[in-house]
């Protein structure tokens, strides 16, 4: 046990100290934060700053443009008494951005509304204005026909529904659950692949630089293999925790820095969509997050991360021990990587239909469960189901390590011989 610990420590420390680990650990969160910051910045700065004078001869729109002002970026000035030509002159002199001219229109045939300016309006602003115009004309027509406007506005609202799962309220959570499920499944997939390949390379390196015989005169192959997989698995875990941590911190900081602007962008978007009030949606999402069992999600994530990595890392180690050069390695990793790729496909079903039988079975089979089950956890998988899946994975991971160690102990000492799958089978049952 003490020796496995020594191996784990070396594998962990020598990797965490490398420049490449430091760089990859920093770059990914920086890239994500950069993307977030850039998208916020673009959202804020993509709005043109324009002051629009509204010359309204129909007198239908008097108050309608007041509420549409968006800070400094879009300002409407309702000019009752100015002359149109005078305003056009002001546009030419660049005192104002443009003039919206609404003639005395016929609400049944609203034609002849014009916008005079030096520059074309962007599509967002255009749709803001067009929506406002449509709204007013629609209301006017309805009013004339004798409808109750207030009632109609009310009818415009979307009717939602609340899900009650296992007697717990889960309003509007399925989108959030999908998102969390997808992220977890994907992170798992990525780390198994990247760090699994790292285990394979590390084993192959020990084999080619021949230190392995010195090692094996001090420790058992099983200890060396287990220590290696766990050590590298911990590196992966460290990196994922740092990434999550960095992204959460960055989100928080960005939130503080851009607080005003984010609100503004949110408001803008709400307005463009029309009637759906954003605050309600945000609140709903926060409520949904609260109802999620976050501690269970995290614990499950780490559990599946660790045991999934042991399960797959052992296989990669066995391949690393069996092959003598990199070109061989590719043909051997295929049987390992196929199930990982299939589990991503099952996972994308699982986040849409967590109860689908392929998702349920996928979260039991150890080749798929490390990716599929974490994706299903936010949907409130029954505890019994999860425990069964976990037990299967623990047993399979231990069995896989045992199996891998049997291939490993033979393969690691064989040099320069091309190994077939049949050989691997023989090694498992041979005594050394």
């Amino acid at each position: 046990m003490n020796k496995i610990w020594l191996i784990i420590k070396r594998e962990y420390i020598t990797r965490v100290r490398t420049k490449s680990f430091l760089i990859s650990t920093l770059i990914v969160p920086l890239a994500i934060v950069g993307l977030m910051a850039a998208s916020i910045w673009i959202a804020i700065n993509s709005n043109e700053k324009v002051t629009i004078a509204v010359k309204d001869d129909s007198h239908l729109f008097e108050d309608k443009f007041r509420g549409l002002d968006q800070g400094e970026t879009l300002v409407f000035k309702y000019k009752k008494n100015s002359d149109l030509d005078e305003l056009k002159q002001q546009v030419k002199n660049e005192e104002i951005g443009g003039v919206l001219y609404i003639p005395d229109i016929d609400i049944d045939h609203p034609k002849g509304i014009k916008y005079y300016a030096n520059n074309q309006l962007g599509p967002t602003t255009e749709s803001v204005i067009s929506n406002a115009l449509t709204d007013v004309v629609k209301s006017e027509v309805l009013k004339r026909e004798g409808y109750d406007i207030a009632l109609l506005k009310k009818l415009d609202e979307t009717v939602g529904f609340e899900s009650i799962i296992n007697e717990k309220e889960k309003s509007g959570m399925s989108d959030i659950s999908s998102a969390i499920g997808y992220i977890m499944g994907f992170v798992m997939y990525m780390f198994i692949f990247i760090y699994g390949a790292m285990v394979m390379r590390a084993v192959a390196e020990e084999k080619t630089n021949r230190i392995v015989e010195v090692m094996l005169s001090s420790i058992k192959p099983f200890q060396l293999l287990t220590g290696k997989v766990i050590g590298i698995g911990l590196v992966a875990l460290t990196q994922s925790i740092l990434w999550f941590g960095a992204i959460i911190c960055a989100q928080f900081i960005l939130g503080l820095v851009f607080a005003g602007q984010i609100q503004q962008v949110a408001d803008m978007q709400t307005m463009n969509v029309g009637s759906n009030p954003s605050e309600a949606a945000v609140l709903e999402a926060i409520e949904a997050l609260k109802t999620l069992d976050l501690s269970r999600i995290w614990i499950s994530f780490f559990f599946y991360f660790i045991f999934g990595f042991l399960f797959y890392g052992a296989q990669f180690a066995a391949v690393g021990a069996a092959v003598t050069d990199d070109t061989d390695a590719n043909s051997y990793t295929l049987p390992i990587s196929m199930p990982i790729i299939i589990s991503i496909i099952i996972m994308s079903v699982a986040v849409q239909q967590p109860g689908a039988s392929v998702a349920v079975w996928g979260s039991m089979i150890p080749w798929f469960s490390p990716v599929v089950m974490p994706a299903r956890i936010p949907f409130d998988v029954s505890m019994a189901e999860q425990i069964i899946s976990m037990l299967i994975l623990i047993v399979s991971a231990v069995a896989m390590i045992w199996l891998a160690a049997r291939i490993y102990r033979v393969g690691i000492l064989i040099q320069g011989k091309k190994v077939s799958f049949k050989d691997l089978g023989k090694w498992i049952f041979s005594k050394y």
Binding site: L6, V214, L413, K426, Y432
Partner: protein
């Protein structure tokens, strides 16, 4: 002399060949023991059984009378023929790590690494990575890694392979020093020259079997062919009378080789002196281990 290693009826086979067929061998404490054999004879397999990398199919190995078990790892140092170190690791760290895997505590490992690095005067290299070292330097490090835990039994598989003469000599001196301090050394090689100057005892392994074992001196005695070289002074010559009685072969100028059937060297000397020839050299020729080795392997094959 007590045996540090006793091997009894050791058998080991792989898929389709018997690597060791019923090996029995005693290795005495405090000697340099030569394990000889052609390539593929089973030397490395035998060693891997001693270092517990392989488990015997049947038979037993005893270390100082006790059945060989994992705790003996600390008492055995092993330098395999195919050597290697972690390229990206710093030397000091690497040595401490390897020492700790042998079972040394962190503190002990550190002290011993310092001691040996001082001994080889390479303290200034301790923070260098292995890949930055010359090959000769790497070999020194490898040797330190093998003896760091000061094992009672040191197993060196082809220790000179790939070594330049300076490092080979250095390792030879260390081996002698360690032997004098009571360490037993198993020295495996297929190169006989190195055996004669170092080993007191040898075993010859061929095709998975021990075909010869014992003290070097005794083996040579047993295998000698009663050959003598006689050197005469330049004026003297090997007369026909002498040649009738003792058919000689001139091997060099004035040097004659004679094979005596009985050990009657005094009579021979008297006969020579009677011919008035003056003898300036007379010596018995013992076979080299190399000759015995080749002879034995040939006999074995036929």
């Amino acid at each position: 002399m007590t045996a540090i290693i006793q091997i009894k009826n050791l058998k080991k086979s792989f898929e389709n060949h018997e690597a060791l067929k019923d090996v029995n061998l005693d290795i005495h404490q405090g000697v340099i023991f030569g394990l000889l054999g052609p390539n593929g004879a089973g030397k490395t397999t035998l060693i891997r059984n001693l270092t517990q990398i392989y488990r015997p199919d049947s038979g037993d190995i005893f270390f100082k009378g006790e059945k060989l078990q994992p705790k003996h790892i600390l008492n055995i140092g092993y330098m395999p023929e195919e050597r290697g170190l972690y390229k990206k690791m710093k030397i000091e760290e690497q040595l401490i790590y390897l020492g700790r895997l042998k079972g040394l505590s962190a503190k002990e490992a550190k002290e011993k690494v310092k001691k040996w690095m001082d001994h080889f005067e390479i303290q200034s290299w301790k923070n260098k990575k292995t890949e930055d070292l010359s090959k000769g330097m790497q070999q020194k490090i490898q040797f330190i890694a093998t003896i760091l835990h000061e094992p009672e039994l040191l197993i060196l598989d082809e220790p000179y392979s790939g070594l330049d003469p300076i490092n080979a000599n250095l390792i030879k001196d260390e081996m002698l020093k360690m032997r004098d301090n009571g360490t037993t050394i198993i020295f495996s090689t297929h190169r006989m020259e190195s055996i004669e100057e170092l080993c007191e005892e040898i075993a010859l392994i061929n095709n998975g079997e021990i075909i010869l074992q014992g003290k070097v001196k005794e083996i040579k005695e047993e295998n000698k062919q009663n050959l003598y070289n006689i050197t005469l002074s330049s004026e003297s010559k090997w007369s026909d009378t002498l040649n009738n009685k003792y058919p000689a072969q001139q091997v060099e100028e004035n040097v004659y080789q004679i094979s005596l059937h009985q050990n009657n060297s005094n009579e021979l000397l008297l006969d020579i002196i009677h011919t008035k020839a003056s003898v300036i050299g007379f010596n018995e020729i013992l076979p080299t281990i190399n000759e015995i080795f080749i002879q034995k392997v040939k006999n074995y094959q036929s």
